[in-house]
């Protein structure tokens, strides 16, 4: 337990949340009730989208210490001292990540609003479980909502991303 997490904050007091955001040290200013999603978006990283703000749709999925979380259900202060990775990290340097290339190849997006959440989730799965079965891919993809595609191209893109790693 780090020291800064052990003090009570007033509701309107702004905490300085030091963390590693997309591989860089960063400090987010956030009152205790601010969600990680809002705090990350306030830094200009607006690829993390809010589709429901109650943890169902998955558009706001980010990695927290390398595990996917719904950033609308995590408070910014809970990220203190931890690593947060958003969709923006994947194409850092202007080159699309192989998972993103797979999404393009399979036309796995229409409006694109849910896409960052799926891409973050898919990259995590490809790295963590490169041998994931078809059933496991379906299970992971079924955790998030897409209203446009009917999911088949997303499933195909994720399978492809796994196969090519």
């Amino acid at each position: 337990m780090t020291e800064h997490a052990s003090r009570w904050l007033a509701p309107d007091e702004r905490a300085e949340v030091a963390l590693v955001l997309n591989g860089e040290n960063a400090v987010l200013e956030a009152e205790p009730r601010r969600t990680l999603a809002d705090a990350v978006r306030a830094t200009g990283l607006t690829g993390t989208h809010l589709g429901c703000e109650h943890g169902v749709c998955g558009a706001c999925t980010v990695l927290l210490d390398d595990e996917p979380v719904r950033s609308c259900l995590v408070l910014a202060v809970q990220a203190a001292g931890r690593r947060v990775d958003t969709v923006e990290r994947l194409a850092a340097g202007g080159t699309l990540h192989p998972v993103q290339e797979a999404f393009l190849r399979h036309r796995a997006l229409q409006c694109g609003f849910c896409t960052p959440g799926f891409v973050v989730l898919a990259e995590w799965l490809a790295r963590r479980e490169p041998d994931a079965s078809e059933e496991r891919v379906g299970e992971v993809v079924s955790s998030s909502l897409c209203r446009c595609t009917g999911y088949a191209p997303i499933l195909a893109a994720v399978r492809d991303a796994l196969g090519r790693r």
């Binding site: 169902v56 749709c57 595609t149």
Partner: protein, 731 residues
């Protein structure tokens, strides 16, 4: 310039925005940030129906960071008008929605006040402090007893005579549930007054130009005083982009406060504030001859308008008369639809409005008739679908109602294509084998027509910059469907240039003089043909004058379309039912549609699959129920169940191309087609699986409680279960 060997039309060109969107680099309205931004939060009615005696704003005004609190007396006493001319009957006039509730609140979620504060949290906190004094009134919730705004009738032929000659008549009461489009991005707006006194509004979608003109009129401004800008839009499906109270309130506040104001809707708001759709009850009877010839039908329906008539007017009650006849050669029909006003969220359109509900009602009856006649449902349809040689085909509806004209296609032939591709005979055998092994499985089909390509016209402008960039300007809206890619392909094809050289500008009302927008499967047909005409004229002008395209200036063209077009579609669905839990599993879905000509087949398939996926959601999961006090019971995405990858089956597409002579490109609409037949096909598959019990199926969605109730019914299969549970969700 020589024509490139590669034709852009007909090519699976990649979409232009994908690389940006997949990187998270898109700009959606919530991402728009301006200096000195103030945030709006809408205070909404907590009751379905009540007298509004007072709005006490003192405590909210005193809260930290609050800039303003407004209620009805602070805003213009105007009503949001109807956008669609034929939906604007005089009976709707008294039911239009004010910007903020005046004297009475009429649905849970109705805007009553708006709080503006320095940050979104402060606005939301202060909104909780606005006190509403409400005197509760009885809500109207029952469709058959709610006040009727108008009854709309359509007739063809001699119905009484046809029924008198019938050998078989089947009747049912069938209900389609309340739904909403539920795009993954909820609504939002940013409005900013400029130094020149003009106002820029980000967050427009679907119908920018009408919204600009109407917002200006409601605020007493000239249309030129407003600039509407479309940023990336996270799905539309009919609901996003219509003119809602917030679309006028946010610009009003920005002008009043002299600073930019931002409003981003949350999901709980969206589910009560954005348009709902679909809720209808039908009493239908269908007459046929003993040899399976469909003669006539009569239908009475109650179509919920909700608490107000919104921008799409009385469309819900006008559409059954257009869509119930469908693809069969009826001798006669009579349709009477009541628009009823209830104390629920107002009803607008959602992908394939009217046609989806009508197709469910008609196609269920066709299946019930097939059972009555001991005919295969496929065979019954074969005997009645309008054949290619009978098209163009017209249903005359008397002097006061425009006829229904099917201008091109081959309904009977297209239906056979679906059956061939799906392998119907094999499926039938497999279903029989599985039933013999004790499984509760079924196959269902449905046929329907999509109405699309609505006019009246679209304008397009094309010129070529000195660097060779082809600039296409057109007032359509990009909602995720890929219209900018399709229009670029059409321009590239006409000008014989590489696709990469074409840019499509559609985002900004300052750059585009006019536009009707994107709805009713119209963009590829109406805007696409306008772009084709403009590009062709530019090429001809350059050739005639011996000039390069770059020197030929800008050419404008208009494509006019006096009547909408209908195109045929059909679907086949296979389901398995768990007889114990009542869970229906969609195993396979095949959708066929006549698109005339596919400009970008891959994008078109994406539209058909996506729409069919939503239709399966309608059949099995999605519903917006209310309790007896008019409180909405689905106020989160944990209640309003959008299908996930775990529920949806593989969806196959059969793209049929019978080009129409009705426009130069030969294209027909396709954005909604996958939806039209999906709920009907799934419901027929469930009906098939349940056998006799399925005949009593009368309302969607086919949720586990409804399926269990059907199975327990008097004619139902015995499940061996002795439980006495009540049926949740039945009201």
């Amino acid at each position: 310039m020589s024509r490139t060997p590669h034709r852009a039309v007909g090519d699976d060109a990649p979409r232009r925005l994908d690389a940006t969107l997949v990187s998270g680099a898109g700009c959606f309205v919530a991402d728009v940030v301006r200096p000195r931004l103030a945030w709006a939060r809408v205070v909404r009615s907590p009751l379905a129906h009540a007298r509004l005696l007072a709005v006490r704003r003192g405590p909210a005004l005193a809260a930290p960071g609050v800039v303003a609190v407004i209620a009805a007396d602070d805003v213009p006493d105007v009503r949001i008008p109807i956008r669609i001319p034929f939906g604007a009957l005089p009976e709707a006039e008294g039911a239009l929605q004010p910007l903020l509730a005046r004297d009475v609140v009429r649905y849970v979620g109705e805007p009553v006040a708006v709080v503006v504060a320095e940050d979104p949290g402060a606005a939301e906190d202060a909104a909780e402090l606005v006190e509403l004094e409400l005197d509760e009134l009885e809500p109207a919730l029952d469709l058959e007893r709610a006040p009727e705004l108008v009854r709309i009738a359509a007739r063809h032929g001699d119905v009484d005579d046809a029924f008198a000659r019938a050998d078989v008549v089947v009747r049912r009461r069938l209900g389609f549930q309340r739904q909403t489009a539920a795009p993954l991005e909820a609504r939002g707006l940013v409005a900013e007054p400029g130094e020149d006194g003009r106002l820029t509004i980000w967050g427009a979608a679907k119908v920018k130009h009408w919204n600009r003109q109407t917002t200006a009129a409601l605020l007493g401004l000239a249309p030129e005083a407003l600039r509407l800008v479309e940023v990336d839009v996270g799905g539309g499906f009919g609901a996003r982009g219509e003119l809602y109270p917030e679309d006028v309130l946010v610009p009003f506040l920005a002008l009043e406060l002299g600073r930019p104001v931002k409003w981003v809707e949350d999901r709980a708001e969206h589910l009560v504030a954005a348009n709902h759709a679909r809720e209808q009850l039908h009493e239908i009877e269908l007459a046929a001859s003993a040899d399976g010839r469909l003669l006539a039908f009569r239908d009475r329906s109650w179509c919920d308008q909700g608490a107000y008539v919104r921008t799409q007017g009385l469309l819900p009650a006008m559409l059954p008369g257009d869509h119930l006849p469908g693809p069969y050669a009826w001798e006669a029909f009579a349709v009477e639809s009541a628009a009823v006003r209830t104390n629920r969220t107002p009803v607008g359109t959602y992908r394939a409005p009217g046609m989806t509900e009508a197709t469910f009602v008609r196609e269920r009856l066709v299946d019930l008739l097939a059972a009555e006649l001991a005919l295969d449902p496929v065979e019954l349809r074969r005997r009645n679908l309008i054949a290619g040689e009978a098209i163009p085909f017209t249903f005359d509806r008397g002097p006061d109602v425009p006829p229904i004209v099917y201008e091109s296609g081959d309904f009977a032939g297209d239906f056979e294509r679906l059956l061939d591709v799906a392998g119907y005979d094999t499926i039938r055998r497999e279903v029989a084998d599985r039933r013999a092994r004790g499984e509760t499985v079924g196959v269902g089909v449905a046929a329907g027509v999509e109405l699309g390509a609505i006019g009246p016209f679209e304008d397009a402008w094309v010129h070529v910059d000195p660097d060779g960039t082809v600039v296409v300007r057109c007032g359509v809206a990009s909602l995720g469907q890929g219209v900018e890619t399709v229009l670029a392909q059409i321009a590239a094809d006409e000008l014989a240039v590489e696709l990469e050289r074409v840019v499509v500008r559609h985002h900004d009302t300052d750059e585009i003089a006019s536009g009707f927008g994107s709805y009713a499967s119209r963009s590829t047909v109406v805007a696409g043909n306008a772009v084709a005409l403009a590009a062709r004229a530019l090429r001809e002008r350059a050739q005639a004058d011996g000039l390069p395209l770059e020197a030929a200036g800008e050419v404008a063209a208009r494509f006019e379309k006096a009547h909408p077009s209908f195109s045929f579609g059909a679907a086949l669905s296979i389901v398995a039912v768990d007889a114990e839990t009542g869970v229906v599993r969609s195993e396979r879905h095949v959708v066929a549609h006549d698109v005339g000509r596919a400009v970008n087949p891959a994008l078109l398939r994406g539209q058909l699959v996506g729409a069919a996926a939503q239709g399966i959601g309608a059949a099995l999961y999605e519903e917006l129920p209310y309790d007896e006090a008019g409180q909405p019971l689905a106020i989160s995405l944990a209640d309003y169940l959008l299908p996930t990858a775990g529920e949806l089956p593989p969806i196959e597409v059969v793209v049929i191309e019978h080009p129409t002579a009705g426009n130069p490109l030969g294209v027909k609409g396709g954005g909604e087609a996958g939806m039209v037949t999906a709920p009907a096909a799934v419901a027929n598959a469930v009906g098939d699986a349940l056998g006799g019990a399925g005949a009593q199926l009368e309302r969607l969605p086919l949720s586990p409680p409804r399926i269990r109730a059907l199975l327990r019914g008097p004619t139902g299969l015995s499940t061996g279960s002795t439980d006495s549970e009540t049926v949740e969700g039945e009201t």
